[in-house]
Amino acid sequence: MADLPSPNQRRGLVAIDGAMALMVILLVVQIWLLSATLEGFLAGHHGVALPAAIFSGLLFAACVTIDAFVERVDRESRKD
């Protein structure tokens, strides 16, 4: 394998960089959600815990899906 990335590998890297940026955004939202839920819980608003947990689960599922996408791109670009 050459030391310089092939065009296909470069495309793969761009796709992975985009996916990573999206994951970082999702994670920031999740961190904010957790701190807001904790704040609400400590203030006696117990009703927020369930919707927050569901939403956080969805964000986690999205992260895992993106991770799977990165794995796929990684695998395909390694065929070169």
């Binding site: 394998m1 030391d3 996916a19 994670l27 839920t37 400590l42």
Partner: protein, 171 residues
């Protein structure tokens, strides 16, 4: 999709410790996305933990504790006491002839002890200038994110008795 990667037919050590720069870029990104997924799982676990606490933690039983005699403190005066446990410091304020209020003394920002400012008619935290309403313990100004927990008071045979602690938006 498998959580443990197997992206190529190469042995794992060749995949993860590639000598080629082009491959190395993939390794670092792959590891970073794994780390992000793990962090996301941690956040989700935190939310589940809070959910479990709301479902399984029972509201505590509060004892009845005599806090003061009626008329023991002058109007505008305060008395410090502990409730419900000896380490939970509280402040009782006589705001009128026949009006008493009591709050936890622990600031909801970083737990400094609040004091009563009779001049301003509010509870003040000296650490970061957090002010609380004497009427309901709500935040008037400053960094505290929540109102002060209010001590439920009842009168019984000339005595003020603490019966519980109310936590929430309105004290």
């Amino acid at each position: 999709m498998s959580l443990f990667r197997n992206p190529s037919d190469q042995p794992l050590w060749k995949d993860e410790f590639s000598v080629f720069t082009a491959d190395e870029r993939y390794v670092t990104r792959r590891q970073f996305t794994k780390f992000l997924s793990l962090a996301s799982l941690g956040m989700f676990a935190g939310n589940l933990w809070i959910l479990a606490k709301t479902f399984f933690v029972k509201t505590p039983e509060f004892p009845s504790t005599v806090v003061a005699e009626l008329g023991e403190i002058p109007v505008g005066g305060v008395k410090l006491f502990t409730y419900p446990a000896p380490q939970d410091h509280c402040i009782l304020v006589r705001t009128g002839d026949d009006k008493y209020v009591a709050y936890s003394q622990k600031c909801t920002h970083l737990s400094c002890a609040v004091y009563y400012s009779a001049q301003q008619g509010r509870l003040e935290c000296p650490c970061h200038q957090g002010y609380f309403s004497i009427k309901d313990g709500s935040v008037l100004q400053g960094p505290p994110p929540r109102p002060l927990p209010r001590i439920v008071l009842e009168r019984d045979a000339g005595k003020l008795v603490a019966k519980g602690v109310k936590v929430g938006e309105h004290g």
